[in-house]
């Protein structure tokens, strides 16, 4: 079992790296792209001792307390069985 955690800057928080990437994307001529936001992605291996719901709770706490800074970032947890 594996957990995936996505951490992104909250809407409205300036993302200078995303802006720089978007600028390059425009220079390269990609059509139809209006914005780029850069985030972080974590893959967390689970040893199988927790049930899916327990694992989700545990990883959500990890995401809230360690992987993200709730002042500036949102997170999303996916559990893959």
């Amino acid at each position: 079992m594996k957990a995936k955690v996505y951490v992104n800057l909250k809407p409205g928080v300036l993302d200078p790296q995303g802006k720089a990437i978007h600028h390059s994307v425009e220079l390269l001529g990609f059509a139809g792209i209006s914005d780029v936001r850069q985030g972080k992605y974590f893959e967390i291996a689970l040893d199988g001792t927790l049930g899916e719901e327990q694992a989700r709770e545990s990883v959500a706490r990890l995401a809230r307390e360690v992987l993200s800074n709730p002042i500036i970032e949102d997170y999303r947890v996916e559990i893959e069985t």
Partner: protein, 232 residues
């Protein structure tokens, strides 16, 4: 009066802070390894600049989990003086001892330069030897110094007079051009509600000798010493 300088893996301004306390403040100072937990002998603790834990995850994020940080929270709660400089400011925000967060600079660059800050509150233990409105020339060296907070926090900081330093021009005017990193409201340094915890991005410890281009930082350490001369 005794000072402590906390050393995390990756701290790199610890010796500068130590040097300033011993040479310019003329007081005893210890390095405190981040695994130590006894802060009881210190009258003031400095969290120095650097790249604790390599800035992995977010600047200051992993230092928050070092053993010394629990002691530091209790130390601050009990009124101990805590000065966080640069990475130290980032750590204090990540640890929840100061509100808000420091994100990537507006223009993405690591900025290493001398800037001007205005003293907006001279009634803290860290600024009482300065006057309100005084302009200091201090170096900055950071990639994540862009201070952000929500509207309610900003209002609270303004109302309680907790914005201690703001980026300004050489005449003390708060302008968009003098804001090096995009910080909200030109914020360069803030304190907690009780005023015993201060965090700032500029490096006063690198500005205590004319040879280094500015000695304006000395007044911050003189203020700390003056505060402790009364209380400690």
């Amino acid at each position: 009066m005794k000072f402590g300088v906390i050393v995390f893996p990756g701290s790199n301004c610890d010796h500068d802070a130590y040097h300033v306390i011993s040479k310019h403040v003329g007081q005893p100072v210890d390095f405190i390894w981040h695994r130590d937990t006894d802060l009881s002998s210190y009258d003031a603790v400095i969290i120095p600049g650097g790249f604790s834990y390599g800035d992995y995850l977010r600047a200051g994020a992993l230092a928050r989990f070092s053993p010394v940080m629990n002691s530091l929270k209790n130390y601050a709660r009990d009124g101990g003086l805590v000065l966080g400089i640069c990475n130290g400011f980032q750590i204090l925000c990540e640890a929840g001892l100061l509100p808000g967060a420091l994100i990537r600079n507006r223009d993405l660059h690591f900025i290493c330069d001398h800037i001007f800050v205005r003293v907006d509150n001279a009634e803290t233990p860290f600024t009482n030897e300065l006057t309100r409105g005084a302009v200091l020339r201090l170096p900055i060296a950071h990639a994540e110094g862009n201070y952000v907070c929500d509207d309610a926090t900003l209002e609270e900081l303004q109302r309680d007079n907790r914005i201690v330093f703001r980026y300004c021009d050489n005449a003390g005017n708060i302008t968009a051009e003098s804001n090096p990193n995009g910080s909200r409201d030109n914020i360069a340094g803030i304190c907690n509600h009780e005023r015993n915890v201060l965090g700032l991005m500029p490096h006063p410890e690198r500005a205590c000798e004319d040879l280094l281009g500015s000695s304006d930082g000395r007044d911050i350490f003189r203020s700390l010493a003056a505060t402790l001369a009364i209380t400690a």
